[in-house]
């Protein structure tokens, strides 16, 4: 059976629901991501259309990786909307990492609205066995 390329389905962006309020008003969306790993690294690829590289922030602390991006393109006020099918806003998503990451060598690339973060692993994570003593 020949594989046929499917049409991409239109989907609304997923809005981030957070207990903490934003200090800057505006909507926050969760970018679509691909996450994969091999022996060397964990890679996260995120779609953030409209975001220039200077507006991307990547932060890793306490095993939590945060990706955020602010789009630069805004619609000038003199323009009036005729049709609005998608909303624009900030992108934000967090991941808890289970691997130990070599923080010095994290690499990030942004290309046409696609952010690719490569997180190299530090050796194999050894499971630590905890001895339990009775008494």
């Amino acid at each position: 059976m020949a594989t046929q390329t499917q049409d991409i389905q239109a989907r609304d962006k997923r809005e981030v629901k957070s207990d903490a309020e934003q200090t800057i008003p505006g909507r926050v969306f969760s970018p679509n991501v691909d996450i994969f790993e091999d022996d060397q690294a964990l890679t996260i690829v995120a779609d953030m259309p409209g975001v220039p590289s200077e507006n991307v922030a990547i932060d890793l602390r306490n095993d939590v990786l945060s990706l955020s991006g602010v789009p630069s393109v805004s619609v000038p006020e003199k323009e009036e909307y005729v049709l609005q099918e998608y909303d624009t806003g900030k992108y934000f998503r967090q991941f808890t990492l289970s691997e130990v990451i070599d923080q010095e060598h994290i690499e990030a690339k942004l290309n046409n609205g696609v952010l690719r973060v490569t997180l190299p692993k530090v050796g194999p994570a050894k499971p630590r066995k905890i001895e339990i003593t009775e008494g």
Partner: protein
């Protein structure tokens, strides 16, 4: 009555440019029209890529979020009062020994046709692709531009 109730609904902390009512209307429109597209102006077509269309007195602006495209994978054409965007979004395979944990990004064909709100000057249409956003600027044709009429007293 329902509209009034929804307007006062305490949704959440964020309030963007579009009201919740507007979004509800959009979702409803998509539901009613199905995802086949090609409909009129009131409701979105529900076909990728979703488009925002705006205008001022000189131009019509069409914006679409299509991240991760190469320029030669994207085609934009204008025929009469219809704008067509076609292409294919490819997500290159990673090398074979990777394990995927999530795969949310979609690859596939892009086919979208949009009816323009006014006549445009097809010769002067410009398209730009930057940061994953396609922006098409369509200058309005002379007869579609608003004309100021002098009032004599």
């Amino acid at each position: 009555m329902i509209i009034r109730r929804l307007e006062n609904w305490p949704f959440d902390g964020f309030s963007g440019g579009v009201s919740e009512v507007e979004r509800l209307r959009r979702d409803l429109g998509r539901l009613l029209n199905g995802r086949t597209g090609g409909n009129g102006w009131d409701f979105p077509a529900g076909v990728f890529p979703l488009m925002n269309v705006s205008q001022d007195s000189e131009n019509v602006y069409v914006r679409a979020e299509i991240p991760g495209m190469l320029l030669d994978q994207l085609d934009v054409s204008v025929t009469g009062r219809s704008l067509t965007v076609t292409g294919e979004r490819a997500i290159p395979d990673e090398h074979s020994n990777v394990r995927y944990h999530r795969k949310e990004r979609e690859a596939g064909k892009i086919r979208r046709q949009l009816a323009l709100p006014t006549d445009v000057d097809n010769e002067r249409v410009q398209a730009k692709y930057q940061h994953g956003i396609l922006m098409v600027v369509l200058p309005k044709s002379e007869k579609a531009k608003p004309k100021k009429i002098a009032i004599s007293g």
